[in-house]
């Protein structure tokens, strides 16, 4: 299930790739994001955009690699304001980013393990939306749930 235009229902081809230094200016200038993405520079940060519209970043994802624990920690995903709430333009953006993180976790030999330390109030919703499971205070996807996300979104 790739990205989908909500108005016309068409599938949209997208690209996920690493954020480069010059993107941070664009991100700030766009006023599309509520979090301060410059603070994520120290981590692995990825952007997603439509193939025909590289300048228009739809969403961002910050990851932290924990090779000693065979996992990638999902530090932050945020979609631009155009894609938040009931009037969003495109479906599946966050799912695609999360599925991409799962692919990376497989590539690195972590069995697809991606963790998140959610706000307690949102824990149930993250579980039902994305198939996360509880691991102590953290949530994570791995193996079957990670494969489900990859098959669904990529």
């Amino acid at each position: 299930m790739p990205l989908k235009d909500r108005k016309i229902g068409e599938s949209l081809e997208s690209v996920i790739e690493g954020v480069i230094d010059s993107d941070y200016k664009l991100i700030k200038a766009s006023k599309e994001f509520d979090f301060d993405w410059k603070l994520e520079k120290q981590h692995e940060v990825y952007k997603i955009y439509l193939l025909e519209s590289e300048q228009d970043i739809l969403g961002l994802m910050s990851l932290i690699d924990h090779p000693e624990e065979y996992r990638i920690h999902l530090n932050l995903i945020e979609l631009g304001n155009k894609n938040k709430g009931s009037s969003k333009e495109t479906d599946n953006i966050a799912g695609c980013l999360l599925a991409f993180a799962c692919e990376l976790a497989y590539e690195r030999g972590y069995y697809g393990f991606v963790s998140l330390q959610p706000k307690s109030q949102l824990t149930d919703l993250y579980q039902s939306y994305y198939g996360f499971r509880q691991y102590g205070r953290l949530l994570a996807v791995e193996q079957e749930s990670a494969q489900r996300l990859i098959n669904k979104y990529l």
């Binding site: 509520d34 979090f35 301060d36 603070l39 994520e40 120290q42 981590h43 969403g59 624990e69 065979y70 996992r71 999902l74 530090n75 932050l76 995903i77 945020e78 979609l79 894609n83 938040k84 709430g85 009931s86 969003k88 953006i93 966050a94 999360l98 692919e103 497989y106 590539e107 030999g109 069995y111 697809g112 393990f113 963790s115 998140l116 330390q117 959610p118 706000k119 307690s120 109030q121 949102l122 919703l125 993250y126 939306y129 994305y130 691991y135 102590g136 205070r137 953290l138 193996q143 494969q147 990859i150």
Partner: protein, 180 residues
């Protein structure tokens, strides 16, 4: 690292429901340094226990998925990479299964010498073998993946084997002179 996620959450909450937030933002809860240390410690213990309790089958499923994802990634790049030759990927596959070449030859109903020649790049695989590998991997590595690995290698050989190209060209007579 963000230093006031709660503030951003409250701001988002003014405009969106929790469902809408979950659909567009995945963020971490900020904890005090002490709390964070405890959470990290507890999680690390759970994670290491989970890793050590993984069965051979769990690991095989994960390793196979890793192989599939790396092959898909290779298909997205344009260049040929020796590491992804049919023979090298077959070697990798056999290693993951933890079975001997002889066992795999039996499983695939192929003569061990033929398998050995393919693994060593001295013989070409056929489509039948690719279908059998798909079945052997329980569908995880489809026949067309094996075909694409082989086709890319053949294309590379065709493009770069200049000696053969010249040799074969020398056997052609009365060719069409249409390039002006």
């Amino acid at each position: 690292m963000q230093n006031d996620t709660e503030k951003v959450y409250r701001k988002l909450r003014e405009k969106y429901t929790d469902e809408e937030i979950v659909d567009s933002v995945l963020f971490n809860e900020e904890l005090s340094a002490k709390e964070q240390r405890e959470v990290d410690e507890e999680f690390r213990k759970i994670r290491l226990e989970r890793l050590s309790s993984m069965t051979a089958k769990d690991k095989l499923i994960g390793d196979m998925m890793q192989m599939k994802i790396l092959i898909k990634k290779y298909f997205r790049q344009e260049l040929y990479d020796e590491q992804y030759s049919f023979a090298n990927q077959l070697k990798r596959y056999i290693k993951l299964t933890n079975r001997s070449n002889k066992e795999i030859a039996e499983n695939l109903d192929i003569h061990p010498t033929k398998l050995s020649r393919i693994i060593n790049g001295r013989d070409n695989p056929n489509i039948e073998l690719m279908y059998r590998l798909e079945k052997h991997s329980d569908g995880q590595l489809p026949a067309h993946y094996w075909w694409r690995l082989h086709a890319r290698e053949l294309e590379y050989q065709i493009r770069t084997d200049l000696e053969k190209k010249l040799n074969e060209a020398g056997k052609v007579t009365d060719y069409l002179e249409i390039r002006g």
